[in-house]
Symmetry: C2
Amino acid sequence: MIPYKTILIIDRSNRQPIYLQLTHQFIDLIKSKTIPSNTKLPSSRLLSDLVGVHRKTIVACYDELILQGWIISIPKKGTYVNSTIPELQQQWTDNLLQSRAKISGFSFSKNDILQRTFPQAFQDDFIYVNDGVSDERLTPIKELATIYRKLAGKKETLKHIGYGTTFGNLKLREVLVEYLNETRGLNITIDNILITRGSQMGMFLASQLLIENEEYFIIGETNYSSADTTFQYANAKLLRVKVDENGLDTKAIEQLCRRYNVKAVYTTSHHHHPTTVTLSAERRMHLLNLAKTHSFAVLEDDYDYDFHYNHAPILPLASHDTNGNVIYVGSICKTVAPVFRVGYLIASKDFVDECANLRRFIDRQGDAVLELTFAHFIKEGSLDRHINKVVRAYKDRRDFFCEYLKQELGDYLSFKTPKGGMAIWVTLNKKYSWKEVVKIAAQNKLIFSEWQRYDSANTNHNAVRIGFARYTKEEAKEFVLRLKKTILQLV
Amino acid sequence: MIPYKTILIIDRSNRQPIYLQLTHQFIDLIKSKTIPSNTKLPSSRLLSDLVGVHRKTIVACYDELILQGWIISIPKKGTYVNSTIPELQQQWTDNLLQSRAKISGFSFSKNDILQRTFPQAFQDDFIYVNDGVSDERLTPIKELATIYRKLAGKKETLKHIGYGTTFGNLKLREVLVEYLNETRGLNITIDNILITRGSQMGMFLASQLLIENEEYFIIGETNYSSADTTFQYANAKLLRVKVDENGLDTKAIEQLCRRYNVKAVYTTSHHHHPTTVTLSAERRMHLLNLAKTHSFAVLEDDYDYDFHYNHAPILPLASHDTNGNVIYVGSICKTVAPVFRVGYLIASKDFVDECANLRRFIDRQGDAVLELTFAHFIKEGSLDRHINKVVRAYKDRRDFFCEYLKQELGDYLSFKTPKGGMAIWVTLNKKYSWKEVVKIAAQNKLIFSEWQRYDSANTNHNAVRIGFARYTKEEAKEFVLRLKKTILQLV
């Protein structure tokens, strides 16, 4: 007989009931043919003595094995291992501990487009250069969590926690329609808005639906690299146009439209990503006219609308669009905190409907409790108050960061102080290269990740984008000093 | 001169400052050429008199228009509308109110695969038949919200609210690795798990990555229709095999493997969706052996593992997989509440890494505060307690629902009481058809949506799936009575 006494191990500290622990061990023994097919199992009385558990536990274990089909009970004869179970063709280690293979047992090819070097883990004493993110310490997280907790206590909220609409919570859509119409000069109704997880999902949905086969998307010579990837993943062919101090060169777009069947133009009109320039009024009108003439979509990513320091925010292209050409994506992730994945896609009803159809198969629906929380947060004026607070803080931070950087490193690099946003575009003097700087900087615990992506078109502009909004004065100083130390090592 | 006094409208109740209201109205007037190019604007003093606001307000408005490039200021001459702004080729209504087009100004084709008839709005006195969902009234939403609020108050949590890893919150991954290893007999490490938004995102990611060109996926003759759609959207060619009382016919799968290059087999092994049968032990081993021999992936969707009433849960295929063939997706959405979109994808490290790469471009990252909340909820044993509570409730509900349905409608339909899950598979007697029932039922405020999807392969099985877990006794009675009323109208 198989030495059940030594082979079966009971762990009384485990959360699994003992009968189930035994059941799973029996399954392993049967699978591995340690107990071969047709083996007669010991009676429940005998096994309970051997293993030192109550007989009822063994009965429950055998019942379970019978139910699952691993063993069969033949009246008056006994209990046998089912002979029809095929032997599992897998490798087994001696102690029956299965370990997962490191490599998949099926083939799939890694998509070059998706490979990124973004760090997945962060160490405390390192500075990770960002491309313009908000300071999580200024986030009204307690205020939001309090609204969340309050809503959770309401019976009314229960209506929202089951399977619901893929368009997003109705209350938030209503509040956002009003808010966006007032603050961005849009003129939309509830039919024009889909709640997404941040702008990224909006871009994913839009590009998936716009591109049937390989179609042309126009982007800037420098461009937000995650947008490039999203469009390439959707099979877009990318055409690039120059970006100068007035933004995308719309004359170049006009020329491309004559040669190619252009499906969409992507623009970060408020502050071009990465160079931070604003698309001029003249080019805005030109771009909208081209869109109408050539029936292409303008995918407008208004990622930092709320951040402007010297003047009023510039109304998005979407506010001038009466022909249904603009797909407008934005979010409150950048404004509040990246963790709160609440964004929106604004477009004509037909396109919004189709985006909702696709969204159903990506993540089914959003988090309605969080969406309701933001509906209250906006309605109560808390978002406006939060924006006022952080815009003041970020304006001061911009001023300090830019002055200090110029003072300490003005001989080695140059930049224009941007009118808004959370980042600057820094060009290194020709004598030096970011490639070298990035390498040495890592030794000084200053990590520039994915800096190559700022020059996907290989124009050798020798510039990178550096976020300032997250840094207090002390942190800004530390950043600049580490960068200075790095550059002086190269001089 | 243009009648500025009547054309410019000031709304003191609006959240926009007055200078901005005027700015936006000027932009509209310039865009529409109501104020033509090169027009000289009135002096700030004159305009402030006309409109009845302080002169400083007009100065701020003009400054803004100059900054944005709509007007230019010529020293000693005055302020003029910029002549280089192109006329916008869009239709304008008389009162300058822009209304969004209903139809997009670009072409895109609706994808037939994505068209669904799932209701997007729900009326109170209607019953919407579901395919097996939990009862939101049993959700520990207050307990969860309290943990959420507590976490939000901790300084430590701020680390988690910025841009972070696309793999999901580390703490939750650690807790889930331990929890899944203990409860599902997996033997995984942190490298094998990606946190997703529910199982749907796991299926979306996996199918996108498995299918490069058109490749074959094997599914059941009846199958979870959202899975069908997800695979078709990813360009899979679907091959169907019969499903009997032991689940998917693995001999048929073996035969298909000889003829086709099979990329994956999709299985809801615990309770087949929609028919609720369990995949037998024999077939489980057979399927894993086939997967190894033919190097295909087994996409195992364990959507209702926690719900079993007569015996212990059956360990998933993933617990027997040492060759890296199984991609296991699951979630706590079904168990807790659909609104909490927290799920997981378990696979070999290489595949998990690639899924994380793609996920970055879909929604960037998850909600780390919610993920942390669930880490605590599981660690504290609250998930186990919740499962114990609802399993007891749903067992009672199953028993009542099945008995009552049989008693009232046993002459017209048949079903097997399932051993687990949250739904039953109901076959109508041949004399009747669900097509007719569904039509009349709607008149009785009983809505069967998407019932056709249970027979995508057109086998005329005359059955639909009906969820019972959400209904109290009273609600179950009301459901059965409305269905009875409907059927009697047809007799």
